[in-house]
């Protein structure tokens, strides 16, 4: 049968404290993590934030440039058309232009410069279309009640909003009035929006970017890519007039986007350029992903490192605590021995005095029984027997108290040169007969190079005698006891081990074998003092004594003594 070796006391304690170790472990982990992760998060977030702010600023700036460029281009286009027509109006008279053949020549010239002119006509002060060149039959129409006519007469120049008119394609009108003497007349030109629509559409960037013109009433003047068509109304708020381009990331008409908005100079039109933030800010998103990945990687490394370090720290702590517990157990044992020693001595002393009286009284009775003529008494034998029994048991008690005193006595050990091997050989010789009689073999494996040490040979002999006697008693019959010695030069320690193949000591009583009065022997056979005396002797000699036992296998006592050499001379 193989039972596990007894668990040392320190070990059991450690298991009980397992939970507090685990708690400490997590405390270290939590503290380290919070101290290292918080800065990591702060750094990661600020890098990301700084990058996104500056990148967004850059995107906004380029959007502003784009918006202004486009607006300038449209403005320039309108300017050119207006100045072309102005030149035409002020270099020719109504008489010249009223002639359709002349007008046709002029129109051809105009179209050479710009394909966007669709037609051109001359209207007199009454609103009559007096001359017309173009693809439609508009001559003779009267415009007196048209809004643009009134406006032109009032302001001298008029640029209309885009309309499809009779002709079903988008165009707008530029009208210029001239007062020529008493005659007032208007040159009216229709201009195709294709060209500036193309200009605006050039700003429709990316998959979802959009660009369009709209009036101050949010009527679309060019067709957007998404969400509306020409002349449709855009669901934006009405913008007041403002200077320069306005660029912001905001929600307009239920759509979150980057907007660049600018008022045109010549016409009350707004150019709106919309960009999808997701497309434009892709580098920011990529940075975000990168930062998150880096932070997560950092977190992983830190967590792993923290766990490793904390584990190592706690493991070291457990080791130290365990060593300390073993040491404590040793200290507890020796202080227990000291306290018990005092107690034992006190008891022995108190018991000795009455024992002395009893002994003397019994001795006196014996004297009397031997001398007086009481032999004739019929109870003589009983008296004699009783007196002898009392004497015997007083003797027994006396042996106990004397051993107790021996256990407690503080006599300084002798300082003499001791050859350990010889002490052991003598002790073994002394027990050989007894062992032989019980068929127990005492083997010795003695280190021939064992150095001599300064110690007390008779006390050592007592220790070996006690342990060997116990071993013989434990085996009973048929067995082997092995006594071996050795020297550990590094620790300067002599070691003696006495191993028997007896029944072993159960782990629950193994911790008590050195306690005084602990015995497994029958009443009257052992005092339970042998091992405790051995313990205090070895301790006084500066050494240690330990026991290891396995039930069914045997018991081993190991004694370690320091090599003392100060008296070699």
């Amino acid at each position: 049968m193989l039972l596990p070796l007894p668990v040392p006391r320190g070990f059991r304690m450690m298991r009980m404290e397992d939970r507090s170790y685990r708690k400490l472990h997590w405390k270290i982990v939590a503290t380290t993590l919070s101290f290292s992760l918080v800065p990591l998060f702060v750094v990661g977030f600020s890098i990301y934030y700084q990058f996104s702010v500056s990148y967004k600023a850059k995107v906004m700036e380029s959007l502003r440039t784009l918006t202004e460029n486009r607006a300038n281009a449209v403005d320039l286009f309108l300017d050119e058309r207006v100045s072309q027509l102005n030149t035409l109006v002020y270099t020719n008279s109504i008489d010249q232009l009223g002639d359709e053949r002349y007008l046709t020549r002029v129109f051809t010239l105009l179209q050479m410069r710009s394909k966007s002119f669709v037609d051109v006509g001359i209207i007199d002060a009454e609103g009559n279309h007096v001359a017309y060149v173009g693809p439609y039959q508009l001559k003779g129409l009267n415009y007196r009640n048209e809004e643009w006519f009134g406006e032109t007469m009032l302001r001298g120049i008029y640029i209309s909003d885009v309309f499809t008119g009779f002709r079903k394609f988008p165009h707008f009108v530029i009208a210029i009035m001239r007062r020529e003497g008493e005659k007032t007349w208007i040159l009216r030109a229709t201009i195709n929006t294709d060209i500036f629509e193309a200009m605006v559409k050039a700003a429709q960037i990316g998959m979802k970017g959009d660009a369009f013109l709209m009036t101050k009433d949010n009527i679309l003047q060019t067709s957007p890519r998404f969400g509306g068509e020409l002349l449709g109304k855009v669901g934006y708020p009405i913008f007041p007039k403002f200077q320069g381009a306005r660029v912001e990331e905001t929600e307009l008409g239920g759509e979150e986007a980057l907007y660049g908005i600018v008022w045109l100079k010549d016409k009350q039109w707004l150019l709106v350029i919309k960009e999808d933030p997701l497309e434009n800010l892709t580098p920011i998103l990529r940075t975000r992903v990168l930062v998150i990945a880096l932070v997560l990687g950092g977190v992983l490394v830190i967590v792993m490192g923290t766990l490793l370090v904390s584990n190592a720290v706690v493991r070291q702590l457990v080791k130290t605590d365990r060593e300390k517990a073993v040491l404590d157990a040793g200290l507890v044992q020796s202080s227990k021995m000291a306290a018990l020693g005092k107690l034992a001595a006190g008891i022995a002393h108190e018991v000795n005095n009455p024992l002395a009286v009893i002994k003397e009284k019994v001795g006196w009775m014996k004297d009397l029984l031997s001398e007086e003529d009481v032999g004739a008494s019929e109870n003589f034998k009983e008296f004699d027997d009783a007196v002898k029994k009392i004497d015997y048991h007083v003797e027994r008690a006396r042996k106990v108290t004397h051993r107790l005193l021996g256990f407690a006595r503080r006599m300084e050990p002798f300082q003499e040169q001791v050859t350990m091997n010889r002490v052991i050989e003598e002790t073994v010789d002394f027990l050989k007969n007894e062992a032989h009689y019980r068929n127990i073999e005492i083997r010795t494996a003695l280190d021939p190079d064992l150095p001599t040490t300064t110690s007390d040979s008779s006390q050592l002999q007592q220790v070996f005698l006690n342990i060997l006697n116990n071993a013989i008693d434990a085996i009973g019959k048929n067995g082997v006891i092995t006594v071996s010695t050795g020297y550990d030069a590094r620790n300067r320690e002599l070691s003696v081990s006495i191993a028997d193949d007896g029944p072993g000591i159960p782990s629950e009583v193994l911790g008590k074998v050195f306690d005084p009065f602990f015995t497994t022997k029958d009443v009257g056979k052992g005092t339970g003092l042998g091992l405790s005396i051995s313990y205090s002797i070895i301790e006084k000699l500066g050494g240690t004594i330990k026991v290891a036992s396995q039930v069914g296998k045997g018991t081993t006592f190991s004694i370690h003594l320091p090599l003392v050499n100060h008296a070699t001379a």
Binding site: N353, A356, V357, K359, L405, A408, R410, M411
Partner: protein, 132 residues
């Protein structure tokens, strides 16, 4: 064995009485006293060959008594009787000139043997003194 005087000093009267009786039974002229002071006073006028002296006594203890006795009667042999935990006191007594010590409860025959040896040593000492 006969014809010599032994003084027993012990505060335990039961013990004292009995041991004196047993000594007398063996034809030893024994006197029992219960304290060191009493013993010293008694020694002013009496002579003894051997003193059996308990170490632990109230008042003047065995060691102190021994010192005084050795001053008064250097040749008188003293056997210390100790029930004390420490054998040291017995050893200390021997350093102060006691002949030997016996741990209580002592075996009576052993004690008798020691008394005889003590008395022999005393005779040898006296012999030497007489010769010189």
């Amino acid at each position: 064995m006969e014809g010599f005087r032994v003084l027993v000093v012990d505060d335990e009267t039961d013990f004292l009485e009995t041991i004196v009786k047993r000594l007398r039974k063996r034809k030893v002229d024994a006197v029992g006293l219960t304290s060191g002071v009493e013993a010293l006073k008694y020694l002013e006028k009496e002579h003894f060959d051997v003193v059996i002296l308990d170490v632990r006594m109230p008042g003047l203890d065995g060691i102190e008594t021994l010192k005084e006795m050795k001053k008064k009667r250097p040749l008188m042999e003293v056997i210390m009787l100790t029930g004390h935990a420490s054998v040291e006191s017995g050893m200390q007594g021997m350093q102060l000139g006691a002949f030997d010590y016996v741990i209580k409860p002592a075996d009576f025959d052993e004690l008798m043997e020691k008394i005889r040896q003590a008395r022999e040593r005393k005779s040898i000492h006296e012999e030497k003194l007489r010769r010189s």
